[in-house]
Amino acid sequence: MSLLVARGLTVSATLGEARVPVLRALNLSVAPGRVLGLVGESGAGKSMIGRAIAHLLPPGFAITSGTLRFDGRDLLRMPAARRRSLLGRDIAFVPQEPLTALNPVLTIATQMDEHFSHLGVTSRMERRKRAMAALEAVHLPEAEALLRRYPHQLSGGMCQRVLIAMAFASRPRLVVADEPTTALDVTVQARIVELMRELQQRDATAVLFITHDLRLAAQVCDDIAVLYAGSIVEQGPARRVFGLPAHPYTRCLQLAIPSMKGPRRALYALPEQMPGLRAIARMEGCRFAPRCPIAQSECFTAEPPLHGTEHAAACFFTDWISAIELPDTPRPPAHARSEAPLLEVSGLSKHFASGGLLRRSQTVAVRKADFIIAPGEFLAVVGESGSGKTTLGRLLMGLERPTFGRIVLAGREVTRGAGAARRHRVRTAQMVFQDSQSALNPRRRVGAIVTQAMEASWQHAPRDVRMQRARELLAEMGLAQELASHTPAQLSGGQRQRVNIARALCVVPKLLVADEIVSGLDVSVQAQLLNLLQRLRAELDFAMLFISHDLAVVRHLCDRVLVMYRGEIVEQGPTEAVFSAPQHEYTKALLAAVPAEL
């Protein structure tokens, strides 16, 4: 008997006058005591399910048809007070951003006290005891002192443990975890996931684990349901779904994720992206058909139903899945150039002073960094938050002034970035930012953005020359020419990131500094960008400092890697060597935290 059952559940959004479905006739069931992973990219509608269960849909969204039952009771028609007593007690939620999910002006004690009060514990002392017990269950040390603290005094991982403690405190029947580890560092992520598993097994709780990370879901969940364009396209036991996908979308996703083992191969990049809500509503056949490599004419006219018992897929041609393969393109050989290094960094340090007039303290963001980048080489910098990798990138670009050390770029010293040194750096090195939204001026048009370098006074070019260059750049990025007159708001995330890259490549620099440029992107978009970078590398022969926290991406793209921990480079060397035989403890911990591959 399933604990949570959705039948034909449709959630629609009101866009203008039209009503478009976000979740279409969804059939889902969560068995008691099992972990169901709901995997989907952004725009697939996975966050709507959690909201539908809690009946807290954002304005403009409504459940337009279908049923949702919890333990046999109708969740949708339940009176509000009844539902409120269910929430937090029988159905608990673990949020995505732990640091902002707790009230910043109340202590942990106050918030937990309120929670237990809601659960019906009347005695104050009893509430306190339960809170301490809950914190111990999530392995938080010094529970007494922690209760007195405020959320901003805790790390992200600790906050998430508190939230998990509150969620599991009432031994709920169902826990809905919506991307619970996305905002956390990789090592913390592994421990949180382990903790959730432990508590889930202790109480035989059912868990609905919503994530975009297929590999993580495969590791953590018992069953997986894959969501595409508002409906489930594949469902079944985790190992089967991931090991032997029955739907082309799942298969393509699998091939788009860079792997930590096996030969380094090109990634499968699905063309374009998931269609928007309006486009989905207009389509008639299988929603995946336009991007599907094995689509036939029937796929465009009739929507395939989800068929199969234990392992179900919504596709007419499941037998042809194995035809989707990657051509075995040999990797370009690693560069063994004997030229002078492009970038030489020696003893680079950055100290930040903080505190008021009287109590000044020092934070060392980067400590004595020494490394070299050869021309045309891709060097990765990996580390977690607080490792100093972003500061390192900023130091190289001249956005921070080094406290000690030297930076020599293409033979000229650029440590003090003024005047001629600055101009040299501008011509030789450029940066690609992570947040493509804030990196593009919303008031400028794309054509003007990509040629921005040609507006600076000392390399000013006339208008027609700039327009010509803009056309070239867009073509190189694989972007349609008409986008030149669009504003950034009219582009998708992947397109914006390409514009970002195009702007950096306008002056044809020899070095690109890329700070987490594929983080937070969908798997398919990420694969497109990584393939693009490989192609550009072959064509334009630039070197790159690739800052990232994602080890699989780093392995796929970069020749050498620097591992940073608390401002220091603890290990560096060729990527394969470092990843297969790590020397430093931290590197080992990092590698151990990556979700294992099946």
């Binding site: 807290l56 409120r84 002006v105 405020y150 509150m166």
Partner: protein, 336 residues
């Protein structure tokens, strides 16, 4: 504890500010087109007599020297004598400051109460048809400065309705007890309830006029702070834990929304305090504002100087208190 530390730190910073302020005042006033010496003499005074007065007032010395003299005397508590009223300037301030403080405190209470109530009402109307009407109403309310309210109230309640008094602090017939200078307090101390009530009645119109002018910004900020807070993750998370909407508003949202509102009220205080000047003039209320206006009309430099400085001191004091309060209420600013 933190409150005292902040207050102490702020007051320390206030000293150089006051020095600069007094210096600026000095400079601003010494470039007068009017001659204070001439103004202090009867109209038929001779040139020589005026010159003598100038020398006596020290107005013939160079500017920095005049300032140094003033500063030295000020540190000893001597702020000079009023040219016009021929009395010790500091004493004049001592007599009028309590009245102004009484008025300002009441006005601030009115503004705060109205602001809180109005803000909650505006917030409760969100996403409803009446919201636009309420917002336009707030804008119109904000377009009436305090001196217009003061005049309107005189017209409506004083002239048309004869309901409330609009001159001075007390009816002419009643004798004013003078202990602390705070009339309401003094009336209670001498156990004369009729004086207390009368003083209260006299305070109503000016305090409400002043408070009404400064309530709308508070309403606005409270509403927009609440709206911002309601978009935050922790509110949604509280709902997901099953907490009731009432509890969310009172225990989670208001505490967070109070912070920007408090900051605004601190800023508004300076404006309100200055606005009390006009209200005093219109209601012939014997406070520091009236003293200032008379001094300005008569070019009474010592009084302008000391009253200007007093306004500054009060504003700086209140700002320090607000800063300290903000620190107490906002745990994020406390050391980790």
């Amino acid at each position: 504890m933190i409150l005292l530390a902040t207050l102490g730190r702020r007051l320390l910073v206030a000293v150089p500010i006051l020095l600069i302020v007094s210096a600026l005042l000095f400079i601003a006033l010494r470039v007068l087109p009017v001659d204070p010496a001439a103004m202090s003499m009867p109209p038929n005074a001779t040139r020589a007599e005026i010159d003598l007065a100038r020398r006596q007032m020290g107005l013939d010395r160079p500017l920095p020297e005049q300032y140094a003299i003033w500063l030295r005397q000020a540190v000893h508590g001597d702020f000079g004598r009023s040219i016009h009223l021929r009395r010790d300037a500091l004493q004049l301030v001592g007599e009028t400051l309590p009245a102004t403080i009484e008025l300002t405190v009441f006005a601030m209470l009115v503004a705060g109460a109205l602001g809180l109530a109005g803000g909650l009402v505006l917030f409760s109307l969100r996403d409803r048809a009446a919201e636009t009407v309420a917002e336009t109403g707030t804008t119109l309310l904000m377009s009436v400065p305090e001196f217009l309210w003061a005049l309107l109230f005189i017209f409506i309640f004083g002239v048309l309705l004869h309901a409330l008094p609009f001159t001075g602090r007390l009816d002419a017939g009643l004798q004013q007890p003078r202990i602390t200078g705070f009339l309401l307090l003094d009336a209670l101390l001498v156990r004369r309830p009729e004086v207390f009530l009368n003083a209260l009645m006299h305070l109503v119109l000016p305090a409400v006029a002043l408070g009404l002018a400064f309530a709308p910004p508070i309403m606005r900020v409270l509403r927009s702070s609440l709206l911002d807070v309601y978009h935050e993750d922790y509110i949604r998370q509280a709902r997901l834990r099953g907490i009731s909407e009432t509890r969310i508003l009172l225990h989670h949202a208001l505490k967070n929304a109070a912070l920007p509102t408090l900051t605004l009220m601190g800023v508004q205080f300076g404006f309100l305090f200055g606005g009390s000047l006009l209200v005093e003039v219109i209601y012939s209320y014997p406070g520091m504002g009236n003293l200032m206006v008379d001094a300005v009309r008569n070019a009474d430099l010592p009084v302008i100087q000391v009253v200007g400085l007093t306004y500054c001191v009060v504003v700086l004091l209140i700002n320090s208190v607000v800063d300290g309060l903000y620190l107490v209420l906002n745990p994020r600013l406390r050391p980790r």
